[in-house]
């Protein structure tokens, strides 16, 4: 009886230790969950699934990595800021932020791009992705991440549909600081007036996204310090 209870205690202790070890891993994994996302860039969480959803005609994609520092450095940054009408702000919107461009393919033919940017929101980072055709026209708008009580309204497909068909030209006159818009951008309705700052952040992110795509892909201008993008 004594040996049996000793055995049980041993087994119990071993079991408890295994559970404890598993718990420790769980704590590490859970707390490191943020760290796993923590790349400065903006990638799709599940590219295979997301590309198929955001670009239904796609049969594949190629991933291209680039950055302002690679493509033209300070000179390009100044140009982008001037086109945006605002400075790249904070300690996270910097010249060396890596950008991931998904080049969308239909069989072997290139049919468009998906590109996302990070944007500071009221309560956290916002990740805005755009599907673009070869001329730079928005085919789909997707907020991958947003922290707000009203995030569901801004992440709703109905809100995203308002961006379809718009181009950089439509956003050129949008003032990201005052939020003043005209033309097609003015027609975009904020579904969450309580979250006005996040709505404006989404528009700023869209304009920034389109400018970056124009500089990186559609009409890249050679600058004194430009170099090619890396491909995967």
């Amino acid at each position: 009886m004594k040996s049996r209870s000793l055995f049980s205690r041993k087994v119990l202790k071993k079991g408890m230790f295994c559970c404890g070890t598993a718990f420790l891993f769980f704590v590490i994994v859970l707390t490191a969950y943020g760290a796993a996302w923590g790349a400065v860039g903006c990638d799709l969480n599940d590219p295979d699934r997301d590309v198929a959803r955001l670009f239904p005609e796609s049969t594949g994609y190629k991933t291209i990595y680039t950055s302002v520092v690679q493509k033209g450095g300070e000179e390009l940054l100044t140009k982008i800021e001037s086109r945006l009408g605002d400075k790249f702000r904070g300690i996270y919107e910097t010249i060396d932020v890596p950008y991931t461009i998904y080049e969308i393919l239909n069989n072997k033919k290139k049919i468009g791009y998906i590109h996302g940017v990070n944007q500071k929101g009221q309560f956290g980072g916002i990740q805005v992705f755009l599907s673009l055709d070869l001329e730079g026209k928005i085919m789909a708008f997707y907020i991958q991440k947003m922290t707000s009580k009203y995030a569901w309204k801004l992440r709703d497909a109905k809100f995203g549909r308002q961006f379809i068909g718009l181009t950089l030209k439509d956003f050129e006159r949008y003032d990201v600081i005052s939020g003043k818009a005209s033309g097609k951008v003015e027609a975009i309705k904020n579904p969450a007036p309580e979250a006005e700052s996040d709505f404006r952040a989404a528009l700023r992110a869209t304009k920034k996204n389109l400018i970056l795509m124009d500089e990186f892909v559609y009409s890249p201008q050679p600058t004194s310090s430009s170099s090619g993008a890396s491909q995967k």
Binding site: L30, G34, A35, W37, D46, K145
Partner: protein
């Protein structure tokens, strides 16, 4: 006067392709050996660093299977087990305990992370006791909470980067819809703390109605104390389990030992193949120079001279191959690190392949010893050649 080294070197150059292939074989074996030994050393160092960076050597948590808790939490439930905060007083009474820190961990489901939502985790801590454990913490911006009941948050570097937060910004706890002001952002530590959001313990307890409840107690053991004895004593506490990080380290090392044995076997096979390659090359060389060695003997060369000449050839091949392999291992250490990381189920942060001077010298010595052993037979055979028979070209053909 031409030296034995020069003769041996020129002999190797006579059959360049064969010598080069043998050299590559030795270099590859040396590369595998250095990388393996570097991994052996690096993994343990990195694991020790990770465990040290946890700040405490022992943890106490409520009894119950965390697998079940983890599953429930990932499905949106709150499955963590809790223990009473009063346990702290009991633990602190133990003479082996230097410091303790209470921690409450809570996770909420954020439906606005990706397509299917994600988990946001918060650690409730007491800044004083927690920072005493984590002495390596440095603030990039701001500092700890102003008050133990404040709705303030300190963010790990990567959490802040992802959320684009700076001090003065607000964060929102999903589900609960409670706002916190960011008062501090930590510098990068290279640990799991980089992705963590810390809030005051009492505030988190209040939000989740877990007043006087904890999920973890971190314990720092006195330097001269017997941690095993403390562990045994803590096991007697009701409804808690003890996790000693030394045991965790042992468990991880045991898990990893299987992988190490496999890689070691590959290294041994690679070394054996290289050894056979060396024997083959030198033996072929002896065979081809049969008559030449005979002539050398007739003009006065002693068997020991011939033995040394052949042995030096082996030495040159092994030394050059070994050095090339070591250089290759040093250059490709980052690649090796990446490959190992992609294969292992758990890798600590920091370099997994650590190659230092001691390791380099040890590997070079090992390769030379193995090479010289491989050269023994061909050199002995060459030393035994009889001059007249060799000149006539009869023996050994």
């Amino acid at each position: 006067m031409i030296t034995k080294f020069q003769v041996a070197y020129k002999n190797l150059l006579r059959k360049k392709v064969r010598s080069l292939l043998t050299l590559i074989g030795i270099a590859l074996s040396a590369w595998v050996l250095v990388s393996l030994l570097g991994f052996n050393h690096g993994y343990e160092t990195a694991l020790n660093k990770d465990i040290d960076n946890m700040g405490f050597q022992m943890m106490i948590m409520a009894k119950g299977c965390p697998y079940e808790a983890a599953t429930m939490m990932l499905k949106g439930g709150t499955g963590l087990r809790y223990m009473k905060q009063s346990i702290l007083e009991t633990i602190e009474k133990e003479p082996e305990v230097e410091k303790t820190t209470p921690i409450l961990m809570q996770a909420v489901f954020d439906p606005n992370k990706g397509e299917s939502g994600g988990i946001a985790a918060y650690l409730g801590v007491e800044p004083k006791s927690f920072s005493e454990m984590k002495t390596f913490f440095k603030f990039r911006q701001g500092g700890w909470f102003t008050d133990g009941n404040a709705y303030e948050a300190v963010m790990g570097y990567e959490a802040a980067e992802l959320e684009q937060r700076e001090i003065g910004d607000m964060i929102l706890m999903p589900e609960k819809n409670i706002q916190f002001e960011v008062v501090g952002i930590l510098d990068r530590t290279g640990t799991q703390d980089d992705g963590t959001i810390f809030v005051p313990l009492k505030t988190l307890q209040k939000i989740f109605n877990r007043t006087d409840e904890l999920t973890i107690v971190g314990i720092k053991v006195r330097k001269d104390a017997d941690s095993n004895r403390l562990e045994q004593k803590l096991y007697t506490l009701p409804d808690v389990q003890v996790v000693s990080l030394a045991q965790v380290k042992q468990t991880i090392m045991r898990l990893i030992s299987t992988a190490k044995v496999m890689v070691l076997s590959i290294a041994v096979i690679a070394i054996l193949i290289a050894m056979v390659g060396v024997i083959n090359t030198i033996l072929m060389s002896v065979h081809e120079r049969f008559q030449e060695i005979g002539i050398l003997k007739t003009i006065g060369a002693m068997p020991w001279d011939i033995f040394k000449l052949i042995w030096i050839e082996t030495l040159i091949l092994c030394a050059t191959g070994g050095i090339l392999g070591i250089i290759l291992a040093l250059i490709l250490s980052k690649v090796t690190d990446m490959v190992i990381r992609s294969v292992l189920p758990y890798s600590p942060s920091g370099g997994l392949v650590l190659i230092d001077l001691k390791l380099v010298l040890f590997t070079l010595a090992a390769i030379l010893c193995i090479g010289l052993l491989s050269g023994l037979y061909p050199a002995w055979k060459a030393g035994r050649i009889r001059p007249l028979e060799a000149i006539r070209g009869e023996v050994g053909r």
